[in-house]
């Protein structure tokens, strides 16, 4: 019996290399698809989509204050995402940035509380150092368990996030609680000398933003120009080749996890020494998890991550705006971010494959 294929069927054909055009095009495609789906979602919830999209994406950044807030929110996202991207490139799946961020805040905040009202100039640099070390120390645990006991770093780094948040909760409910704080679970406010200097009056834009920009450029230089960056890329793309070249996979696990931990810890310190100004039970609305989306949206490239960080920061601001103006829950931000990552991963198929439309078993007409 003859089998007759009806019509045309799409088929994925592997590209020889990755498509440079698609690498840059798919994030844009994902953003457009997310906005389209978001509009449908808002219409289903009974809102006028153009009004919501305007409130979500345009109104938050139509003032100088809004732009400053955008940068304030992008700072921790970019810091965490750059750290994570080092690991993701080397197939090291650290997803505990949220916990490393928390530990950075605890370590740096601890220095600020210990210094008290002492206005010495060394306090802030010491806090930054403590933040870096705190985050790195927390990431050192999954690194050690992975290299020594082969324990999956995805699960250990995630479990440590819950432990870190509980540790912070213990500290602000217990030993570090402000004695004059009317029994609210929060620490004393940091002294002025222990706060990051503001860059522009009337906004919350702080010194952390330019430091983050500088670190992003540094990360780009490390990835593009330094031997360690080359090793990270080789291990991620072809582990076998890395083995033959004599690159130590264990060393790369340590390097990528410690870097990621230190940068996330710095992000946590910037939050408590910047916009928050004290320790409290919640210091991040999930920046460490959202940074995973930022890292992928930015194509695991430091400069791409800068752009992606600003865009995702906008989704946080937009979520707050629609919550105030239209009474939509803040969870809308999470839905938007999740959809964005879905569409990005889905459209990424075009980077490595091309779609062929096969006209199998259909007679070809001679033109």
């Amino acid at each position: 019996m003859m089998r007759v294929e009806s019509g045309v069927r799409p088929r994925l054909e592997a590209r020889i290399g990755t498509s440079r055009t698609m690498v840059y095009l798919t994030p844009v495609l994902a953003v457009i698809l997310t906005m389209a789906c978001g509009s449908i979602l808002f219409a289903a919830l009974g809102h006028h989509p153009p009004a919501v999209l305007s409130a979500f994406f345009i109104q938050p950044i139509s003032s100088v204050y809004g732009l400053a807030e955008l940068t304030v929110k992008a700072t921790p996202l970019v810091l965490c995402a750059i750290g994570l991207s080092f690991g993701f490139r080397a197939n090291v799946w650290n997803i505990g940035a949220e916990g490393q961020l928390t530990l950075g805040a605890i370590a740096g905040g601890g220095v600020a509380l210990w210094a008290g009202d002492d206005a010495a100039a060394w306090v802030l640099p010491a806090m930054i150092l403590a933040g870096l070390l705190g985050g790195a120390a927390w990431a050192a645990i999954p690194a050690f368990l992975k290299t020594r006991f082969n324990a999956n770093e995805i699960l250990t780094s995630l479990m440590l996030t819950y432990v870190a948040i509980l540790l912070l909760s213990y500290l602000v409910h217990g030993p570090w609680k402000d004695p004059d704080g009317y029994s609210f679970p929060q620490s004393r406010m940091f002294a002025d000398s222990a706060l990051l200097p503001l860059l522009s009056t009337g906004t919350r834009l702080h010194l952390g933003a330019p430091i983050t920009l500088f670190l992003a450029l540094g990360a780009w230089w490390v990835m593009a120009r330094m031997f360690i960056g080359f090793q990270i890329k080789v291990v991620g793309l072809t582990p076998a080749a890395a083995g033959l070249a004599g690159f130590s996979v264990k060393r790369l696990i340590w390097v990528t996890l410690l870097t990621g931990g230190a940068l996330s810890g710095l992000a946590g310190l910037f939050e408590v020494a910047g916009p928050i100004g004290q320790l409290q039970p919640t210091i991040s609305p999930g920046y460490g998890f959202t940074a995973i989306i930022v890292a992928f949206l930015g194509r695991l490239h430091p400069l791409g991550i800068l752009v992606a960080g600003l865009f995702i920061a906008l989704s946080y601001l937009g979520g707050e705006t629609v919550q105030i103006q239209l009474g939509l829950p803040l969870a809308v931000s999470g839905v938007f971010q999740g959809m964005l990552l879905f569409f990005l991963l889905a459209s990424d198929v075009l980077v490595r494959y091309r779609i062929r439309w096969d006209r199998a078993a259909l007679p070809q007409e001679a033109g």
């Binding site: 994925l12 054909e13 592997a14 799946w93 997803i95 368990l145 006991f149 082969n150 324990a151 999956n152 995805i154 699960l155 250990t156 995630l158 479990m159 440590l160 819950y162 432990v163 509980l166 540790l167 909760s169 213990y170 409910h173 217990g174 998890f289 959202t290 995973i292 989306i293 992928f296 829950p329 969870a331 809308v332 931000s333 999470g334 839905v335 938007f336 971010q337 999740g338 959809m339 990552l341 879905f342 991963l345 889905a346 990424d348 198929v349 490595r352 494959y353």
Partner: protein, 306 residues
């Protein structure tokens, strides 16, 4: 004895959601797919079951809705990773982020509303027995379903032809494909099963364990279920042991808090997470054994032409 029996009954409650989610993920991983989105499927199952039970007044329809919500999420994951060949780790994380956001959005109008706890299946004569009665015969239907899923899974994986095909696909998908087995279809079905089981775990949480809806109420149980699969070295029988062990740890910390020991509550709440890490380390340290038990194609992308 009465106290001990009461404690043991709460262990069952804490273990059941873990068992559901872990059995589903075990079958998924046996087919060679790593779905890290268990937490997202579970939390959406929890809110779906709760919302539907409250609106329809029927817990049965609610439970089915929970399973359907989990399966729907798994379908998205399957589309991404099996049809569009996306990275499984990243897709699983996306599922979790989306699930937590979407469940909060759906559940916002249900926060603080009460729902009747799932009824116990009272067997005349049996559940009235002292100690043994409530312990063995005093649970709701989902508890028995979760336990029955273990022998059923063992039978399916080790005794049925379909289970053999599923395992062969998980060990070497290229070879299975060459033999003519439908790799993609089997993995789609395995993922749907895993999603439905995670959804049932969520439904148990919001209808029986704590009959209410709270944002992010799974609190990492989906991730602990993932760790349990590694802990059980991909064997369903050990999963039962693992889930009840972890249920025991969760309950033990609650009771220690109740007895008023001078240990801060936060440190006790860390116990299940620390125990998960300890269990992973203990199982993974023997590298050869871990490699022998893990399905060989786990997490690899299947494209028939490459």
């Amino acid at each position: 004895m009465e106290v001990l029996a009461a404690v043991l009954i709460t262990v069952v409650g804490a273990a059941t959601p873990l068992l559901f989610a872990a059995v589903g993920e075990l079958v998924v991983e046996k087919s060679g797919v790593l779905n890290l989105g268990v937490e997202g499927m579970m939390v959406l199952g929890a809110v779906g079951a709760f919302a539907v039970t409250l609106t329809t007044g029927s817990a049965t329809i609610g439970i089915l809705a929970g399973a359907a919500a989990g399966a729907a999420m798994a379908l998205v994951f399957a589309l991404l990773t099996l049809t569009l060949l996306a990275n499984q780790v990243a897709s699983g994380l996306a599922l979790t982020i989306f699930g937590i956001g979407a469940s909060a959005l759906i559940g916002r109008s249900f926060v603080g509303m009460p729902v009747d706890r799932l009824p116990q299946l009272d067997l005349p004569g049996l559940s009235g027995l002292a100690i043994v009665g409530p312990l063995l015969f005093g649970h709701d239907a989902l508890v028995y379903l979760s336990i029955l899923s273990i022998p059923a899974t063992i039978w399916f994986l080790e005794r049925s032809r379909a289970g053999l095909v599923l395992r062969s696909i998980g060990e070497n998908h290229q070879a299975a494909h060459a033999l003519g087995h439908p790799v993609i279809m089997v993995r789609y079905l395995a993922l749907l099963f895993g999603g439905a089981m995670a959804g049932l775990g969520g439904a148990y949480l919001s209808l029986a364990y704590t009959p209410m809806w709270a944002e992010n109420m799974t609190a990492g149980r989906g991730w602990i279920a993932l760790a349990l699969v590694v802990f059980a070295t991909w064997r369903p029988g050990r999963l039962l042991l693992g889930a009840y062990l972890f249920g025991g740890i969760t309950v033990a910390q609650l009771h220690v808090q109740g007895f008023g020991f001078a240990i801060p509550a936060q440190f006790l709440s860390m116990l299940p997470y620390l125990a998960t890490i300890a269990a992973l380390v203990a199982i993974s340290a023997d590298g050869t054994r871990a490699r022998l038990n893990a399905p060989a194609s786990l997490g690899r992308i299947f494209h028939p032409e490459t």
